[in-house]
Symmetry: C2
Subunit: 645 residues, 2 copies
Amino acid sequence: MPKVTFYPDNQSIEVAAGENLLRAAMLAGVHVNASCGGAQTCGKCRVVVDEGKVSTLPSAKITPQEAADGYVLACSATVDEDVVVRVPVESRLGDKRVLARKRREKRHGRLLTAEELENIISNWPLEPAARRVKVELEPPSLSDPTADLERLKRGLAATGFKPVAVGPRALSTLPRALREHDWSVSAILVEEGGGHRLVSVAPAGARSLGVAVDIGTTTIAAELVDIENGGVIARAGDYNAQVSCGEDVISRIVYSGKGDNLKRLQRLAVETVNGLIEELMVEAGTRADEIVDVATAGNTAMTHLFLGVDPRNIRQEPYVPAFRQAPPVKAGDLGLAVPPGVAVRTAPCPASYVGGDIVVGALAAGLCKTDKLTLYVDVGTNGEMVLGNAEWLLSCSCSAGPAFEGGAIKHGMRAASGAIEQLRINQDTFEPMILTIGGRRAKGICGSGLIDAVAEMFLTGVIDGRGKLNRDLTTERIREDDGQAAYVLVRAEDSATGYDIVLTEADLDNLIRTKAAVHAGILTLLESMKLTPDDVEEIIIAGGFGHYLELDKAVAIGLLPEIPFERVKFLGNGSLLGARLMLLSKRATSDAADLASRMTYLELSTDASFMDRYVAALFLPHTDMEAFPSVASLLGRTANGQAGE
Amino acid sequence: MPKVTFYPDNQSIEVAAGENLLRAAMLAGVHVNASCGGAQTCGKCRVVVDEGKVSTLPSAKITPQEAADGYVLACSATVDEDVVVRVPVESRLGDKRVLARKRREKRHGRLLTAEELENIISNWPLEPAARRVKVELEPPSLSDPTADLERLKRGLAATGFKPVAVGPRALSTLPRALREHDWSVSAILVEEGGGHRLVSVAPAGARSLGVAVDIGTTTIAAELVDIENGGVIARAGDYNAQVSCGEDVISRIVYSGKGDNLKRLQRLAVETVNGLIEELMVEAGTRADEIVDVATAGNTAMTHLFLGVDPRNIRQEPYVPAFRQAPPVKAGDLGLAVPPGVAVRTAPCPASYVGGDIVVGALAAGLCKTDKLTLYVDVGTNGEMVLGNAEWLLSCSCSAGPAFEGGAIKHGMRAASGAIEQLRINQDTFEPMILTIGGRRAKGICGSGLIDAVAEMFLTGVIDGRGKLNRDLTTERIREDDGQAAYVLVRAEDSATGYDIVLTEADLDNLIRTKAAVHAGILTLLESMKLTPDDVEEIIIAGGFGHYLELDKAVAIGLLPEIPFERVKFLGNGSLLGARLMLLSKRATSDAADLASRMTYLELSTDASFMDRYVAALFLPHTDMEAFPSVASLLGRTANGQAGE
């Protein structure tokens, strides 16, 4: 891994080849001014490469003479070899002449590497539910006018597949498909009811593609997977169009009870997924008729709504879902834009408030196989968590709200191109250093950016423990925005939107309530088993935050309890990964069913200790500072004005 | 059976108790003037009951004094005991004073009696595909919040049904159904893929009703059946709404190839069936949620269109249908107005032009079990026939056209209330005697009425062998209608429509072409096996003609070859009866599949001898009069002006 050394701070860090130089600085704890998020438009992140070479593009912000002298925009440079980089004073402090103070934390969580992911996936045999069987059929003639279906069945029987059931949707496309592909076809089969069912008929040379979908309350994410080799071909994400009908699960359930709203919600979810499928098709340069399988994971209410099943009993005591394991549904029944006979399989939902997203996420996290006491935490619109190991599993759920998915935050957005996903604030100038997903001008801020922002604002004294802005600071970054105190993350001239991107006190209040709920959930779950955070041997964090979740920041704001960082892994979107496993391995699907049936559910809404813990957590990092010694020490040091380390 | 003796003709006939007196006269070969079809409005069918009593209602056409003298309207009287009836001269001849000539044929085909039908049905064990399983479930509680589906499965497993698959449509109605019926329910299950599938959840005390449907090209007929005891609860019929898109199979297939027409045709068929289901529900005073099974039979193209499967290859060499046995389809997929999880099963279609209607009709006719050489003839929009026995089966099809279903006939109509279904023409006055279905004022004429009409017109000399009207006859019944020569069946003042109901020369031309095609088909089929009509031991005629098919009339016009009448049975709508068998017996369904797979198909469209026979048959009864000795002798006698017998 190439090593990057920054001067004058004399900080070194090893990064993956191809890493962005601005991100390398951020990870090394070195401040470089950066306002445009990596879009190469603000020109503030000028650095000088003193030794080695970086890859970069010419920029109007760098004169030819400067370029010859080694100047580059850090945000537009990538690192492929060892380099020594100097951060000139104007890029560190801007116009302000203050004493540079340093604070460095290099502990961050990044998404699993390809290798780590491969290790997870290889836990299950590559044995997809949908399989492709090539058959060469004799074309019909006057002397053999056997019907199309019976002709295909005869061909399949000859290769050992018998009996084969056929649904009406596959049947309706059969005559054209057989003739288009000149009677030499791949029959796509899925096991069903002890036999096989014909999903579709594809050209003999077609691939077998699957679509994995995470149906979140706020966002929906999808992956296109080659199920014969496990490779991910394309990814896409979008807001769940149901958001217009209510932000959280409860308001959607209430909405679904009126008139035709249940149908409307079902259609909105399907429309969102169809939009993603279209994106995947465009990105992969393929057509939907190569799709042979769809696996989805979502919370219990989302799964009901996606299938058009009335979720009303989920919110009424005794909180009974319509199903734990819904039957596979044909794509045509749902209106999904894939061949109509494709089976759409949904992950099992063990309880009304612990759904298939958690089950398959916990599956991917290895909870059904590990001996270690493991805590799986998924921070979505609901905060849901599972504690246990191969022996036992206990789950709970708390209404965290959609803040970390960008919901109910003025300029919040999902983890998509242009979202601020990492952020530092200069201790002296209170100027931010931001990185966006895709290195685009910032459009808003996503989950990991929000965690960074709250933590940085708190640690630099921009906000206090209650999330109130310090109006006494000498910075133009703090100002009134529509009558509300706010911190300006990106100024209008640097943003993609043409207006200031800010974080308001109301946003901060939402974020603190969200993190408090998750934290209280974790502690209540542990306490119910007479355990403490120290007993947990492994913590797996899941959620669509962005590519980086800085664990020390998550602890600094009190989202997670203080634990040795080496025990923590950031899985990213566990629900999506789990859905992919369902595509790739029948064993994974049956393990998920097993995991769902073994999960015990702890109801928090009637748990008094949860409410107490929630109230206690409505402070940064927590009212009980003793539980957060590292944060306390960090605060003590910065409060004393001492240089870090 | 009560005996009715008519004077002055001195003709006696035994009829079923409750038979209409006018029909009894018709069956006895006694002419009574009757213009209104039995609606008691023309008052022309006055007769005097001399001995015994008939049941009748008071009529404005009969004075109290006349009533005291024994006068009744024959059309409003029913026979329950032996009676002697006198037909006064004015009811025989009207105003005309001519010598009464008599021509009597008492050989007619009536629909099977209840007993005969019972004999057919009892050939198969009463073992319906859909079964009802009562389960008492423990209501959910906080201590047992098991999901609805898993709770039901647990209950079913306890009664021995395991595994039970559930489709998405049954699932979507499950939560409400369980709660509405207070957790004490009947689960409706069908066998599927080796296990059971949940169709719907009904109240514990619900009946199990099935709908049998005959999907004809011109008309659709349906029956509501209690599948647990086999009883028919209600019947309904209507035109296939697809008629607006083409009268015959070929024109529908052509139409289906453009734009969204395939969907439109599917929807039209479903809308027609839904209308019938609604009628059945009203008539039976029940709700569609008692329906647990639907079985349909139709020709191959209709079955494709009903299922929304592209039928284009049916009309293109080598004439290959998409399927022989279509999979069961869920009612919700089709849009049928029954519980969405109900399986809709279609009868197997062995060839492009021999469909499920023929298969299950031949099944009901016993072809798969008999040793006798049997000919099954279904006269629908296509004329289709099967020859054979338990050992071998040969089928063929000819485009007869919809004439006998009332299509392409100016005042033709299907066999429904108000349709003229029986008809006599007085040899001397050329006045008709008509009976309508339901004894209503005539709206039009159906298949059996048309056969009667052509035969009577031919035998009385109203038309010649080419179907041309004899303009020299002294009767006002023959006149020009819209520039076309026509025979007036019912005058405007006696009709339900307010205008004359006529039969035109164009109608007669259509009817002759239709009967010629059927006749040529029968002979070609026999000839291909080196057989003659004499070799056939049993002929079963099927078709929605009406309640009576007068076999001698069918022979007189040359629809059927001349054969000993005792070998002929009139099955009525064989397709509908067969569909009912599919509802009542899994064995019948598997026998139908077996029958379909054993059937060999003879292609007539490329058969030169068929075309020759067709042309030869374009004459009444046939160009070869030697093949119709009884008709020749009848003509000879009437031509000689001799009184009959």
